[in-house]
């Protein structure tokens, strides 16, 4: 076989792989939605209407489209953060905590005199990223130096960050005597300008697009990214190759933390809030797990998945408002999609379609027989 035909075959195999993964994800989504429909059917008084709202409401009005796209930008960032740590085969679950410390840092900048100058946005975002990066660094260094399990430590840090946010909002950031757990609105100079007037689409979307490209570039075009992926594939091999896997591990968790911090700034400085409220994150950070898994931790796939999932999420919120079905039903959909995509489940009848679609099946790999 000549080199060129082999290269073509390789490219074909890669595309076949992408097609298969996409098919699997879509099939998982259909199954999950099917389950959701059955649940709605049994629990709602007007199931068809509820399902209709779930599937069509997000694009019904410019305002809801804005809500959807705003969610997509945020989901993209948390998906990227999880993708980074998953590619390094770490299971840091600290995005939630990073969002809160990032949000706090951004709020402190926005509410300070700096917030009224042009520095309000860049400095707020930067400080949020530094704070989030530091918060991501902590479980990383604890694992690298002491072997402390990063799953447990990062989860604990999430709870600590939430309480810290509650405390600081109540005692420092809220004007005395107001009684609410929300700060004053940030000065206009510290709030992300809207890209589309009258919607929530703001420059957070640009941050998300830049972040996708930056993470993709870092992972696939830099030595750091290759090292990170090698550590993720086989840390022992990475050590043997002279890569200091602990350094890579900690840096991956720190960079992911900075993304978490950025997400915090996008929440509090974005059009959606423009102020700091306790519990502002509303569980969105953990949905990055789903995004990263369905995207197979590929940065370029993350926004695509976020687009689909964000739609579903927004549909559920609207269904909650307009019908008698609570939005939490989406948790069930999320869980089913993760379970199916993360497992070896394959699309029923896939082999049949594969034969139908491609005549030149990939030759079976010659494995070590009899071993």
């Amino acid at each position: 076989m000549s080199m060129t035909t082999e290269a073509v075959l390789g490219r074909k195999a890669r595309w076949a792989n992408v097609r298969r993964e996409t098919g699997r994800a879509l099939a998982a989504a259909f199954i999950a939605l099917g389950v959701a429909f059955i649940i709605i059917l049994f629990t709602s008084k007007a199931p068809l209407e509820a399902f209709n709202v779930l599937l069509t409401a997000p694009i019904s009005r410019p305002r809801t489209i804005g809500l959807w796209i705003d969610d997509v930008a945020k989901l993209t960032i948390t998906g990227l953060a999880f993708s980074l740590v998953f590619q390094a085969r770490q299971f840091s679950m600290g995005v939630q905590g990073q969002v809160y410390v990032g949000g706090l840092a951004a709020a402190y900048i926005a509410l300070s005199p700096i917030g009224t100058t042009w520095l309000g946005i860049p400095l707020g975002v930067l400080c949020a990223m530094i704070a989030g990066g530091f918060y991501g660094f902590l479980p990383g260094i604890a694992k690298a130096k002491l072997g402390a399990n990063e799953i447990v430590s990062s989860l604990m840090l999430n709870y600590i960050a939430i309480e810290l946010c509650n405390y600081l909002v109540r005692t420092q950031l809220v004007p005395p005597g107001s009684g609410v757990l929300t700060t004053n609105d940030f000065p206009a100079t510290a709030v992300f300008p809207a890209l589309v007037a009258g919607t929530r689409i703001d420059i957070g979307l640009i941050f998300a697009i830049v972040a996708v490209l930056a993470v993709w570039f870092a992972l696939y075009r830099t030595a750091w990214g290759l090292k990170l992926r090698l550590v993720g594939h086989n840390a022992q091999f990475a050590e043997y190759s002279g890569i200091r896997s602990t350094v890579i591990m900690v840096s991956a968790m720190t960079v992911a933390g900075a993304l978490g911090g950025l997400l915090g700034a996008m929440f509090v400085q974005g059009q959606s809030y423009g102020k700091l409220t306790i519990l502002f994150e509303g569980g969105l950070a953990f949905e990055g797990i789903l995004i990263a898994i369905v995207a197979r931790s590929r940065p370029l796939a993350v926004p695509v998945v976020a687009l689909f999932y964000g739609y579903l999420r927004q549909g559920a919120q609207l269904m909650n408002i307009r019908t008698d079905v609570p939005s939490e039903v989406i948790g069930v959909v999320t869980a089913i999609i993760i379970l199916l995509v993360a497992s070896s489940f394959s699309i029923p009848g896939r082999k049949f379609f594969a034969r139908l679609l491609s005549r030149d099946a990939t030759p079976p790999a010659v494995m070590e027989a009899g071993k």
């Binding site: 604890a142 002491l146 447990v152 948790g331 070896s344």
Partner: protein, 316 residues
């Protein structure tokens, strides 16, 4: 400060510690079984939460013990789901675990809304039952120590006694029965039991089932004794703390007991502190269990590392 000491060394505080430690202990034992069989069960949190809600809802219609058993069954069912996706469909156990957590966080609120007819926050409108406390006041007739015994031993949840018994039972199972040997073998080096014809995956599946059942039992205690009723996200990270307690307890049932008591102690402290020192912000008090868990985990890892280094040095 004096008041703090008085409180901490009182019988009432002891009873509080037992109460706060019981759900943690049950979940930790669940985590331990899964861990020893080779699976890190990060779904303890979700299993506890589902246990809470199941117990509360069933207790509206049935006696308390039926509610507790229903909770255990629900947890075991989640364990079976984990086992199916992890063992049969080869999904990563940690991802499966988080899927269960996400399912539990959303699913419990969804189910609660249905059960209460629209209330998303609490089950306050449901007449749910409590697990009875075991009254041992008859011990008071013992001369001398009787009253003290009653103070310390009476008034615990029946499940606290069950949990204490389970520590012994699980220890006996793990280290004194053939099946405990199998389970530990499966966790340490699965190829060995496999070659001996032991059904490795069945053991793993059963471990996850039992793990789920125990975590949900902890949930039942939480929602039918520590609090009576369900509130959204009421486990508040206890399942994750239990995960830390498994590691801290050196993967041994007695270690699990000690770790659960430690975390229970700090949770109890968080319960009594606001009454004693109202100047300490409530948020900081609520942080205590999490900070203690992180510190304990870090210190324990550091100690393990040091011990390792010292052993190495002493042999040089």
């Amino acid at each position: 400060m004096i008041e703090l000491f008085m409180t901490v060394f009182s019988a009432t505080f002891f009873v509080t510690v037992i109460r706060t430690a019981t759900p943690l202990l049950l979940a930790t034992l669940g985590g331990l079984i899964a861990d020893l069989s080779g699976a890190l069960n990060v779904a303890l949190e979700g299993m506890m939460l589902v246990g809470c809600l199941t117990a509360v809802i069933v207790s509206v219609f049935a006696p308390w013990y039926v509610a507790v058993l229903a909770a255990v069954a629900a947890g075991a069912l989640l364990g079976a789901v984990m086992a199916f996706f992890h063992l049969r469909l080869k999904a990563d156990i940690i991802l499966v675990g988080f899927a269960i957590n996400i399912f539990a966080a959303g699913g419990t609120v969804f189910a609660l809304t249905l059960a209460t007819g629209g209330d998303k926050g609490t089950s306050i409108n449901l007449p749910s039952k409590a697990i009875p406390a075991l009254d041992l006041s008859f011990l008071g007739v013992i001369p001398g120590i009787g009253p003290t015994l009653v103070q310390f031993l009476s008034g615990h949840s029946i499940l606290s006694w069950v949990a204490a018994f389970l520590v012994f039972a699980i220890w006996y199972f793990l280290y004194r029965t053939p099946w405990g040997l199998w389970l530990r073998g499966v966790g340490e080096y699965p190829a060995a039991p496999e070659a001996a014809g032991i059904p490795v995956n069945a053991i793993r599946a059963w471990s996850l089932l039992v793990s789920g059942g125990l975590a949900a039992l902890g949930g039942a205690q939480l929602a039918m004794f520590n609090y009576v009723g369900f509130t959204r996200d009421m486990t508040a990270g206890r399942g994750f703390i239990a995960l830390g307690a498994v590691l801290l307890g050196a993967r041994h049932p007695v270690g699990a007991l000690l770790a659960a008591l430690l975390f229970g102690f700090f949770e109890a402290l968080a319960v009594v502190l606001p009454g004693l020192f109202n100047w300490i912000p409530a948020e900081l008090i609520r942080m205590i269990p999490f900070i203690v868990t992180v510190l304990a985990l870090v210190l324990f890892s550091y100690r393990a590392l040091r011990a390792h280094q010292l052993r190495t040095l002493s042999k040089l």
